[in-house]
Symmetry: C2
Subunit: 340 residues, 2 copies
Amino acid sequence: MKNASDAKKSPARPPTLEDVARAAGLSPITVSRALNTPDIVRPKTVAKVKEAVQLTGYIPNMLAGGLASRRSKLIAVVVPQINNSMFIDTIQAISDELALRNYHMLLCVSGYSPETEADIVSTLLSRRPDGIVLTGIHHSSELKKCVLNAAIPVVEIWDLTPTPLDMLIGFSHEKIGNALARFMLGKGHQRFGLIWTPDQRAALRHKGILDVFATHTGLTFTDSHVPLPATIARGREAMAQLLDRGEQYSAIICSSDTLAQGAIFEAQSRGLRVPEDVAVIGFGDLDFAQCTLPPLTTVKVDRWKIGQQAATLLADKIEGLPVAESVVDIGFTLIERGSA
Amino acid sequence: MKNASDAKKSPARPPTLEDVARAAGLSPITVSRALNTPDIVRPKTVAKVKEAVQLTGYIPNMLAGGLASRRSKLIAVVVPQINNSMFIDTIQAISDELALRNYHMLLCVSGYSPETEADIVSTLLSRRPDGIVLTGIHHSSELKKCVLNAAIPVVEIWDLTPTPLDMLIGFSHEKIGNALARFMLGKGHQRFGLIWTPDQRAALRHKGILDVFATHTGLTFTDSHVPLPATIARGREAMAQLLDRGEQYSAIICSSDTLAQGAIFEAQSRGLRVPEDVAVIGFGDLDFAQCTLPPLTTVKVDRWKIGQQAATLLADKIEGLPVAESVVDIGFTLIERGSA
DNA sequence: TTGTATGCGTTATCAT
DNA sequence: ATGATAACGCATACAA
């Protein structure tokens, strides 16, 4: 009587493989196989196991499983911040693809400091993830040592380099900067305002712009630096400061769409018409870009694909599948809409 | 010679506690203590251990540690979607607070289906998380059984109920609906358009509005349902459809700020003035709400605090600390700005 | 197709 | 303050 009810009710300790095995009249390892590799187990046996699992309320212990198999089915993802419109689609895409492949995502925030990133990665490594996604290509040497030593697949995202740690999927920020500058110059603009955040990748786009600017004469530009995170509010403030200087700008180039939209709001609130009085261009092609007034001219990057591909590369490599190209430039597109 | 280099170079297998112990001339358990509870170990011994850790490049294995100690230092977080402006600040807050407390975050996406959520939670449980954060209060009975059986602390967020699974931090969507309706009615509006997404919590706010509407006479309202996710683009489309019906609306109530901003853009693009010709109110007080043209009238919820508190409640309960109140209504504020 | 023996790397428990 | 021993729950390697 007592035992019968104990078997159904919550036991002191959660049921293990052994409990299931006992209930099914099999050995633990057979139960393990029935659960993990049902193809190599007789269907009848699998059925018996499933029944026993149901009966016991068994839930596998992946800590134990991972320890024994040396595969955790865990992917660590490190981003500068989660609540950032730029990265969030990529994160979602990673999560989705990983779920399809039966991995779980360990998500961590590194801020924009390589030291913090290194700390985070070193503790992350103690989870024995099967792979890791890192944002950007600028890491501390300590981090590189750690990660390389862990000997797990790595994907760096959101940037490009000929010398990635392992795999990489991103695009060239400098080329985007070049494209931005050429486009605006092509529109005849000469007096620029630049609204910019201080992160590494934005700096690269900035450099790309300046490199093109340097080949032209007669143009002027004014920098306005805003702190992270890049919000619409910060864009408005920066634009306000720029306009308060009393200078004239024919065009404002922003390091992100949020900043750009903020700049547009500020310009409009002062009665300036966009793009007639001042043109504004952003970066990111965030979801709102196409439906603002005027719609935002910007640079589109397939943020979703970055995540989907990163997860795929990782899972493929972990599972020993052939990985076609391990360094992927997904490129970008300048989308001309109404604002510039 | 060979051994000397082997010790420094990457060994076939990563160093274990035993390797560190050998290098330090101590027993593994002492090394474990020096690392986890340095206070109960002689300072000199701790120093020796740290040196040995450095030397060997030891990285703890939390799979093994978690298995032995039955504490994984893992918190599972389940949200309907990651790339959703509503949840993302909460997620970031959870992550930040958890990092402070030395936990890692396992983040999963459930969509808006209770069945999917149940599946996800049951696989998540196999990681033996020390606690779990669930979005909302509507879960399948299967999920409830699983979670309760796992006997781990649970926090439900973003909603309110007198009967949570365990702990809860949220607010009343119905009351927000009430407040929304009263505010608009107070402004003298009589002809409403409602732009709404089909998720559970939005439905509650909708109900809250209708309950108040029911107590008034002479008002009319038209529903416009939009699919998830709630984007600015969807808001524009819905507003366009509403306006194309040829009816007149004095006010539009939207289930989110993004939808509201979309509605505003659409109205403005048709030459309608907001709020003079049509008032618009949203929900969420997303970061852009205060700086749009006109600034958005909306309902503010402390999304950050929800996350921070959820993580704190969980960590406290896990660590046996006293938990003051395990059901927290963080309330909301209707913020009147320019759009309504 | 199923089972046996063993080890994964750590911590709990009890001892000294 | 430190150590010896025995789990923790599962999968690998090999055997039958």
